[in-house]
């Protein structure tokens, strides 16, 4: 057996500490990451674009700050991969869609500016399901990303490129976006930590919109401490995003040491029945470990959470059909010429969007159309209130909730790509947190037939501090072989 590759990969916190003290140059860190990308990118396809030249010059700028005795930031020299639905000035941004192929944003997303201010270095734009619509990256117009744990399986999605990149050591940390589980589900399937923060905690200025009442940017990392540190850097109040919360910035990474003595943890029993045996046993083992660490653990029934998936598949497509109206061939991106503007709009959109995006636009347009709005969209928003009430009742008795992140481990490429309902079901346990605007994190916990499974810690709005403390306790009890970074594997040893 080869030596554990993780020893070669310092965490983001360790990397920043080495760079800040001058023990290791940011250039050396970035060069070694770019070498690893060159070695594995062809078989994994994590990236739509590797920004090697910009990354090296950013590294030199960090090294110059260190040499001048200035503060290079808490993430100095840390290689970060950006999901390719976050705008980067002068660097192409595709959202995984032909309709934006070749588009060069005239501005940076707020998270990109925040990363730069924190000293982090963007090494590339990662692959995703087109406009973040999907759970496998198979809906990308630019090819499918492969899971480093088994190249025949999907990495999950929609932030599959970001999760796979971190899992294979092609970036130390990454950013994803999560509308119904698009950070947590691929993180679970790739054996990394993924956080969906409270709605409004991270600015979405420059994030290409999918479903605006649900979308949130968050970190992907190999450790809970790295995820918490990255969230501290990107959770800045932003007047350019009207949903950005103006709350006191927290120090989640230092809260981790507080432990979980006396915290009340509820295991969501409604989710357990729908999870594969390996995911069920993972959650039960995590629950026992939390109890041993001093938490009060009980099972709790929250039946209204099971309504979340259906409500989501009315709300998210409705909002998407509205948000994606902007791709009309007029101001940016693809245009297919036609004799008049309406025909140009229709031909451009037909040529530029892939099948899943068209499916959701059709569904969303239908449920918002005259005569159906109340029956579908307004009804789904009422059910959303029921989901939020279910959480509120549970949080009267518990500080956090615990569940599997996904119903199963990573599935084979192609298995669900022609069955929309089967694909949608992989987000069953993650969607309720988006509907309620709550934070949740997936922590890699165990291996199930050679594939990682994740345990999800859910918390009420702005409950990140407690959520991270419990996540760190789950991490301490986890199988260390169930998390990245790993060497990409042709096939699991099942």
């Amino acid at each position: 057996m080869s030596p554990d590759p993780r020893s070669e990969f310092p965490s983001a916190v360790e990397t920043a500490s080495l760079v800040r003290s001058g023990e290791r140059s940011a250039r050396a860190v970035i060069e070694s990451t770019l070498e690893r990308i060159a070695r594995f990118e062809a078989e994994l396809h994590c990236f739509n674009l590797v920004t090697d030249v910009d990354a090296l010059s950013a590294a030199d700028a960090v090294d110059a700050l260190v040499a001048a005795g200035k503060d290079p930031g808490p993430l100095a020299g840390v290689p970060v991969a950006l999901k390719d639905n976050m705008c980067t000035r002068s660097i192409p941004t595709t959202a995984g869609s032909r309709i934006l192929e070749g588009w060069i944003p005239p501005y940076d997303a707020t998270v990109v500016s925040a990363l730069r201010a924190g000293g982090a270095i963007v090494v590339g734009k990662t692959n995703l399901d087109e406009f973040a619509m999907g759970s496998s990256t198979e809906n990308s117009a630019f090819g499918t990303t492969r899971n480093p744990w088994d190249l025949g399986r999907v990495p999950g999605g929609s932030s599959g490129g970001s999760a796979a990149a971190v899992a294979a050591g092609l970036a130390t940390v990454a950013l994803g976006s999560d509308t119904g589980g698009s950070i947590r589900q691929p993180s679970a399937l790739c054996g990394v930590v993924g956080v969906k923060p409270t709605y409004g905690l991270v600015s979405r200025y420059g994030l290409i919109a999918f479903a605006s009442s649900l979308d949130q940017i968050g970190p992907i990392a190999t450790t809970v401490a790295d995820a918490a540190t990255l969230l501290e850097v990107i959770a800045v109040h932003d007047p350019a995003d009207s949903t950005s919360l103006n709350v006191t910035r927290s120090r989640w990474s230092t809260d981790l040491a507080e432990g979980i003595e006396g915290l009340r943890v509820g295991v969501i029993e409604d989710f357990l029945a729908d999870a594969a045996p390996g995911c069920q046993s993972g959650v039960r083992a995590a629950a026992e470990a939390l109890a041993s660490a001093g938490a009060k653990v009980e099972e709790v029934a929250v039946p209204s959470l099971m309504l979340g998936l259906s409500a989501y598949y009315l709300i998210a497509p409705a909002e998407a059909s509205s948000n994606l109206a902007r791709y009309d061939g007029v101001r940016y991106g693809l245009r297919v010429e036609a004799p008049d503007t309406a025909e140009m709009n229709s031909r451009t959109r037909a040529a530029g969007f892939g099948p899943e995006v068209k499916r959701r636009i059709m569904l969303g347009t239908y449920v918002l159309s005259a005569g159906y709005y109340d029956a579908y969209y307004a009804q789904a928003q009422r059910v959303r209130t029921l989901v939020a009430r279910g959480f509120a009742e549970a949080y009267e008795s518990f500080d956090v909730l615990l569940s599997p992140t996904t119903p199963s481990a990573a599935f084979p490429i192609g298995e669900k790509s022609n069955d929309p309902i089967a694909m949608y079901l992989s987000d069953l346990f993650t969607i309720p947190s988006n509907l309620a605007g709550h934070p949740a994190v997936s922590v890699p916990f165990a291996l199930d037939q050679g594939l990682p499974i994740g345990v999800q810690v859910l918390a009420p709005a702005l409950g990140e501090s407690t959520m991270f403390r419990v996540a760190a306790a789950v991490e301490r009890a986890a199988d260390p072989m169930a998390r990245g970074p790993i060497e990409p594997r042709a096939k699991t040893n099942s």
């Binding site: 005239p106 919360l245 059709m362 009804q379 009422r382 209130t385």
Partner: protein, 103 residues
């Protein structure tokens, strides 16, 4: 409440496609007719629920409107923005004729 037992004819789907400005091919219209019906059947658990006493969610968190002072701030550079457009003329976006009139 509208009838939500889902079934879609070709012309239903074609009508939605025209509302969505999607020039769908025949085989796409057939595929979406079947798939939209399947998806809407699947969400019937939600559409058939009695929610007469439940208010719809307007925002996931309890927050109030955000306003700012009405002052001029920096904006994106016009030439940089227009450089990304498929067609421009005299500092504006250029489109094919609308309402059947030549430009």
């Amino acid at each position: 409440m509208a009838d939500t037992s889902a079934s879609f004819s070709r012309s239903d789907v074609a009508h939605v496609a025209s509302l969505a400005r999607l020039d769908l091919a025949e085989d796409e219209i057939e595929m979406y007719a079947a798939q939209l019906a399947t998806i809407l059947d699947h969400v019937a658990a939600v559409t058939s629920l009695d929610t007469s006493t439940v208010a719809p969610t307007a925002h996931p968190l309890d927050v109030s409107n955000v306003v700012r002072s009405d002052v001029v701030g920096p904006t994106l550079d016009r030439d940089e923005v227009l450089a990304q457009a498929p067609a421009t003329e005299s500092g504006r976006f250029k489109v094919p004729p609308i309402l059947g009139e030549a430009p």
